[in-house]
Amino acid sequence: MIEALSAVLLAAALAVSGTLFARRARVLLGLVRAGAPVERTGNLPRRARNEASIVLGQRKLLQRLGPGLTHAFIFWGFLVLAPTILIAMIGVVDKRATLPWLGHQGWYAVLVDVFAVLVLVGVLAALWVRKVQRPPRFEGSHLGEADLILAMIATIALSLLLWHATRIALGLNEWPRGAAPVANALSHLFGRDQATRVLERVSVWAHVLTILAFLAYLPRSKHLHIATAPFNVWFGRTGPGGRLEPLRFDDEDVPEEDIRFGAGTAGDLTWKQVLDTFSCTECGRCQDACPAFATGKELSPKLLIMGLRDQVLAQASTPLVPGSVSEAPTPLVPGAVSEEVVWDCVTCGACVQACPVSIEHVDHIIDLRRHLVMVESSFPAEAEPMLRDVERASNPWGKAQSQRADWAAELGVRVLEPGDPAPEYLYWVGCASSFDERARHTAASTAKLLQAAGVDFAILGPRESCTGDPARRMGNEYVFQAFAEENVATLNEAGITKIVANCPHCFNTLANEYPDFGGRYQVIHHSELLAALLAEGKLAPRRSDTLSITYHDSCYLARHNDVLAEPRALVSAVGRPVEMQRSGKSTFCCGAGGAHMWMEERAKPINLERVREAAATGADTLAVACPFCTVMLDDGVQGGDADLRVVDVAVLLAEALEGEEPVSAEDEVDSGPCR
């Protein structure tokens, strides 16, 4: 009788909870499926590896050991304890029944016991972090929601332990006696009496009902990530981080009104971007890593994603009446995020790297920019000369293309004319190293080093154009693609197979983005080629023990393209390396990325922050491997009181080869910004 009543009650509770869950899940799934298409199914082995390491192994969370373990205990506990949900439901109906086999296993009882405690430890640690430590990364997150969730988890773990303890006290345990040490210890608090029998029922009901409440609440809270994160990680990017997804403007199958120009409203987001917003746990690790946020900008990658999620959900709650001319959907900017937020981003990718659930913030930013620039023609006014000059003059400063190879005139560098035999390496100089005074030293040094090592190379001279990268990072995909197609045609026509580039932005575009436009070359960064020549003994620099050098990783080299060791090999070959606190893939942007070279910075300058960190190493040289880092950090040195010489690794190497005395910061010729 009591069993039947319990079964009915459980069924009712299951139905309520299941319905609540399913109704919400259908809405959310519908929103994801309504997203714009994006290819995220290839490369299965990589996806499986990501799932294993990022989800099961909690790799990204464990980048921060303390909070990482806190979460890992709860997450692993959740996995281990999952079967107990079934066991408890059986127990609710029939207190003498359990799950066949597993319910009788001593080892499982031990695991459950231990992980229930670990979950409680995790909850307590999480509470300590949230209530005592209160790290700034939680600013703006739904804190009350998190408290409620933690309370539920604690209730689930405690009720489980209590249920087990009362069962042991009542002699109802199916698992071998003594296998659950904590529950055993607790069982001594209870006698074999009516009170214990009631408590046993209360605790198992509390356990099951809390779980069902959790299930119903889950898809309405940030804890939705429990359901979405494994999928979001699975569908995460598998290619190079620096590649942006191209848009198609010339697909004849797509009618013009369906051409996607980035994201203007929630309906323009891709399904992966919608899934991103449903996966955000509001943990703030992205915000902590963000150089824009760190320097007082309005952008917080976390609030960006939360804002987009709110807009996606708001759109779902006001469905369009079919056939009616309803109000235009709210634009994402400024509806979900402000214009400042969109333009604050330097596309350094620190947020993407930090995110434990594989949210791709930069793709969101770029899509928002694409819409603003390509549809609304709305962007920071100071960037307009750059956009116009790239398009009309083929370089972002509007310089005469005929002067592009002026730096090489006296070095006897071969300028490739149409019809000339292809060199082994095409040296792609880039606009900055062709036209900017400080960056030109890099081009000259690189050319001299390649000549010294006997490398067969040539430059395109006036036929080299901007790769289109600054336009693309500004959101002008259309202008970018025109340049991609033009440059690919020039390179293919010249029969180029190998390219060396000293600008990480050109490097990233040539290597990772031009394949989308039919340009497939073996592209290497000048630091890689120089390191190889060094290793082969073709370059023999003189090393100075007194020269202490700290190397600044360019985002587009280190974080987006994993080039870490080679520039360091060059640094070690000429001086004594010292590392900055944030280095390698965890580098801190110079402030120029994402077309910020051509935008005005609000709040505290990012370059000053980075120069301060470099100066703290006590090094006297700040080595770089990017013309934009060169300009930004040199500006930072001149704008602050740091005593550092900012210099490209190629220049350092060339100087060491020539056997010149290293130049100290005081002797360095002043050269101001030429942006």
Partner: protein, 251 residues
Amino acid sequence: MNVLVCVKRVPLTGGKIVLTEDERAISTRHLGFTISPHEECGAEEAIRLVEAHGGTSTVLTLGPVEAEEQLRDMMAIGIDRAVHLLSDGGEWDPQATAAAIVTAIRAEDEAPDLILFGNESADAGNYQVAIRVAHALGLPCVTGVKGMSVEGASVRCEQEVPDGRDVYVVPMPAVLTVKEGLNLPRYPSVPGRLRAKRKPVAASRPTRPDARLEMVRLVLPPGLGKHAEVLGRGPEAAPAVIGVLQELGLV
């Protein structure tokens, strides 16, 4: 109202002008092309006028086949249609240019209410084509316009003069030459660029009469390429700068 704006394709010269071997043109190898900034403001104004008052905006150019690029650029920011008077790329003097434009305007189905020019072209700078067109069509002409508003059947124009702004009120149709600063030309949207590809261009090939202002050759002015006296590098040069200012009696 119908607004016609005349533009001219010119190279973006950057910092250094190089001549062709026959010294009759600028070497445009590796150069991009644009129109004069004055004309960009003219096109922007034409679009704004049509947005505000309805009608059609038209861009007209006399230039080589390649000048279609500039016509499409203007249609990308919102000009409705284009008239392309094809030239062989050679130099047309102001009288010949004006005559070709007048013929083209007379051939229009609907006469324009406003004909806009840049105050002067960026390259030749003849300062007269618009005025010649106005005379031939018997229309009033106001030059150097940096502010304008349509008031009924008239247009009120403001022209910058050293101590203020001169105001002209002329009935339409009228010819106006505009100066940069009149407005801020918009940046083309991509849907606009895609639409521009499909907008109509009416092309015709007028014959070029003999030039009455006949260009013989181009010369780079002396003084370019002179060697500046380097006063120094960095802030240490300040005393030398003061020396120069004192010589000029400014300090």
